[in-house]
């Protein structure tokens, strides 16, 4: 006979305030097969777990029900406690009387009643539990990082540092990402390239790190510890092991009208190009849309000038297959399209630029060689106006509902750098709120106001337009309660940032969940911020939510630590709640095979002893290492042979009965 113990947690006053725990205990005691019930302030504490362990030993419990917070929070804790006392961990059930009860009901009577029902359902279920043993699977000791920006590079370097192999897949021709495009970084104003490029070089030089640039993840199969990944290495039309990066081809290429993506399309590049001087790998790539040779067959100049003989017009995309134990998403961000906000005339006025364009306009390697000039007539501007929150905190449908987090700080940085280098330039900043939580951040912003005389105006801009040869900013000063019309030479838009458009595709390949803004969802917003709910998938950088460089780097390190923790294991325990088929009932119809998303079901001819009748039948076999336990097969099985361990038909029916009693 089963002997069940019920443990009711107060969770301080979180549960006890709206649920009469004494009554739940009293009700538990009269449930069939319940031989022990007790309440305690904090069941999850060491003392609380001690109560459970003692009761298991003392009362010879065969099953345990804990009425507490969500199983997503502490199921593991209580399973481990049971295991320590010699009970199979899968003989523990949780009744969620906090998130699903005490926290949402105000009336104590109502709350107590519901808690009793939930307890009853859990008792009914645990009576049908059977001990389960988790299987084991091997761990491939290599990690994949998708995205080669600062987030991906840092994660890869940290993983490599622990002695594991790690591959970076980067869709662009060079690693470096957005940070490579920045001029200076806040709040210390050190040069972005000076701190990033050594890391890029380190990634290339580290023998544990392999770079797949100009490559994309094509498909992902498998599961934690055992991912199979196909990587598409796009044709560069340049042999990357031969190219020396001398640049002779770039100088000779006759098709020079390509937009320079690295410089935010502010100037042009040839059809064969190296994205920027410090690119890693320092290897040229041909833009097939622009190359005359590839489009018409005539030209071939680059091949002639290449003394190394690296050009190969016949190169094709290559598919590489690799095995990984863990995958890190570091797909980064892009600024939103500013032409969605054409009241600021971004589409029509060249002197209206985005902040990332301004980074290039101020960078020594940028299109103006670091001299700040108006894009329209290449003259020195006398007045610059910054507009914050362009598309951030916008629920109108044009922008993003969230705060992009980095704009307040980089705008203060831009304002300060401009005032420092060109004291004759007047700088205005229209802001809604200045948000500067971060070490030395508010001090940084105040310096812009107090030392550099940047004019911060509280209010938004309604329209930017060109009139009489200059830009006019029509905005509001909410402190003065005045509309202001301001003549200015350049306008800089702090456009919202959004996840890179590839994030959604990559996430669905990884079955990582994604939120309504296409940011990847973390397993727990506070306690597991660098893990996806899908085992073996980790998050690094802005793909999880807006963040600045210091935060990105710390998250990258955290993701690496989680990956190292996984790769350090030789074996992984698999989820034992998997499907299994009753051979006596299975008629080999193949219905289940068709719905299984993991290919975990196959068929075998087996000798079956059916009540004394021995015959060979075609029956279903579940590969427990592949089955993820969704249960799709259990419902399609017409003969009722298929069931799911841990969530069996009988268990769920018992819960239904207990609730509807």
């Amino acid at each position: 006979m089963q002997r069940i113990g019920v443990f009711v947690c107060w969770c301080g006053s979180n549960i006890a305030a709206t649920v009469d725990v004494d009554r739940v205990v009293a009700e538990a005691k009269v449930q069939p097969n319940v031989v022990f019930a007790q309440d305690y302030q904090y069941m999850c504490s060491e003392a609380g777990q001690g109560i459970i362990r003692n009761a298991i030993a003392e009362h010879k419990l065969t099953g345990v029900v804990v009425c507490s917070c969500s199983p997503r929070m502490h199921e593991n804790t209580f399973r481990k406690a049971a295991e320590r006392a010699g009970l199979n961990p899968y003989m523990v059930e949780i009744a969620n009387i906090r998130e699903h009860c005490s926290w949402i009901h105000k009336d104590k009577e109502e709350g107590t009643e519901k808690a009793c029902v939930l307890m009853r359902a859990a008792v009914a279920k645990v009576l049908l539990n059977s001990p389960l043993k988790a299987g084991e699977s091997k761990v491939t000791k290599r990690a994949l990082v998708i995205g080669g920006g600062i987030a991906g590079i840092q994660t890869a370097l940290d993983i490599a540092d622990a002695g594991f192999e790690v591959d970076i897949v980067e869709k662009r021709a060079t690693i470096g990402g957005r940070m490579a495009q920045l001029d200076k970084t806040f709040p210390t104003l050190d040069c972005s390239a000076c701190i990033l490029t050594p890391k890029m070089v380190e990634a290339a030089a580290n023998e544990k790190v392999k770079l797949y640039t100009y490559s994309e993840v094509e498909s992902v199969g498998g599961f934690v510890g055992n991912f199979h990944v196909k990587i598409r290495k796009k044709a560069r039309y340049v042999k990357d092991d031969i190219c020396t990066g001398c640049g002779a081809c770039m100088a000779k290429c006759p098709s020079k009208k390509g937009l320079n993506e690295f410089n935010m399309n502010l100037n042009n590049r040839p059809a064969i190009y190296i994205p920027f001087a410090q690119a890693i790998p320092n290897v040229a790539v041909i833009d097939p849309e622009q190359c005359v040779k590839l489009k018409t067959g005539k030209c071939g100049l680059c091949e002639k000038v290449c003394t190394a003989g690296a050009i190969d017009y016949t190169q094709k995309d290559e598919i590489i297959e690799e095995e990984y134990g863990a995958i890190v998403m570091a797909t980064g961000f892009q600024p939103i399209d500013a032409s969605k906000f054409d009241e600021y005339s971004y589409s029509t006025c060249p002197d209206v630029v985005t902040s990332l364009e301004l980074e290039r306009l101020m960078n020594a390697a940028g299109p103006t060689g670091g001299v700040l000039l108006k894009p329209s007539d290449k003259t020195h501007p006398k007045s610059i106006t910054f507009i914050q929150c362009v598309g951030s905190r916008d629920v109108s449908g044009r922008g993003k509902c969230y705060c992009s987090k980095i704009c307040c700080m980089y705008t203060a940085k831009h304002a300060m750098l401009i005032r420092d280098k060109y004291p004759d330039v007047e700088v205005h900043v229209f802001y809604i709120d200045v948000r500067t939580p971060g070490k030395n951040f508010d001090e940084f912003y105040r310096r812009a106001v107090e030392q550099y005389d940047v004019d911060y105006i509280k209010g938004q801009v309604g329209k930017v337009y060109e009139e009489d040869g200059h830009l006019v900013v029509q905005g509001v000063d909410l402190i003065a309660n005045e509309q202001i019309i301001l003549n200015t030479d350049m306008v800089v838009l702090a456009t919202a940032i959004e996840p890179d458009p590839t994030a959604r595709k990559v996430a669905s390949m990884l079955t990582a969940s994604i939120d309504t803004n296409d940011f990847i969802t973390e397993a727990h917003p506070k306690l597991r911020p660098v893990e996806s709910p899908t085992a073996g998938i980790f998050l690094s950088g802005v793909c999880q939510g807006p963040k600045d460089i210091p935060e990105t780097v710390s998250q990258a390190g955290a993701a690496a630590a989680k990956v190292i923790g996984l790769l350090a294991k030789d074996k992984l325990l698999t989820n034992p709640c998997v499907s299994h088929s009753n051979e006596l009932l299975c008629n080999g119809c193949s219905c289940c095979e068709k719905v299984c998303p993991y290919g975990a079901i196959s068929y075998e001819d087996k000798l079956i002893n059916d009540h004394g009748v021995r015959e060979t039948r075609r029956v279903c076999v579940v590969n427990e290492a592949l089955c993820q336990g969704c249960g799709a097969c259990t419902v399609v099985c017409p003969s009722g042979a298929m069931d799911l361990k841990g969530f069996s038909n009988k268990q769920i029916m018992a819960e239904v009965d207990a609730i509807c009693r």
């Binding site: 929150c389 905190r393 109108s396 329209k463 509001v476 309660n481 509309q483």
Partner: protein, 130 residues
């Protein structure tokens, strides 16, 4: 008659079909308003005053007749608040409550010329009379 500001503000909000509490006080409505300088209370103030229930002053203000109903504020508001709808709801409430009319038929001959389109007169009466 007893005048309950809070209740009137609620009525105005319902009538406007918009939720002024969504406002994040960025001022883009007032920044966009072509009639800003004509108004005693500006579009962003309409929004915050209706939220606060401070509507008596709005109802009495000439500002309600200065709105050009050009929807620049509605178009550009990042929060989906529709300030023009609120201003209109205040104006309609003022007309319904006090019965005062900003335009009288007697005024018309003096202010129109023979080219004025019907549309202008219809809209003027629609906007300024009970």
């Amino acid at each position: 008659m007893h005048f309950d500001q809070k209740e009137t503000a609620n009525l105005i909000t319902r009538m406007s079909g918009t939720d002024p509490k969504k406002c994040m006080k960025c001022g883009k409505c007032s920044a966009s308003c072509p009639s800003f300088d004509e108004m005693e209370y500006h579009p962003h103030q309409f929004v915050s005053m209706v939220v606060k229930g401070d509507v008596e002053r709005l109802l009495a203000s000439k500002s309600i007749t200065k709105c050009l109903t050009c929807f620049a504020c509605v178009q550009r508001c990042p929060r989906g608040v529709e300030p023009a709808n609120l201003i209109e709801a205040v104006r309609v409430t003022a007309l319904r409550q006090q019965g005062t009319c900003y335009l009288s038929p007697d005024d018309v001959p003096a202010i129109v010329d023979d080219q004025i389109p019907q549309q202008a007169l219809v809209s003027a009466f629609r906007k300024y009379r009970k």
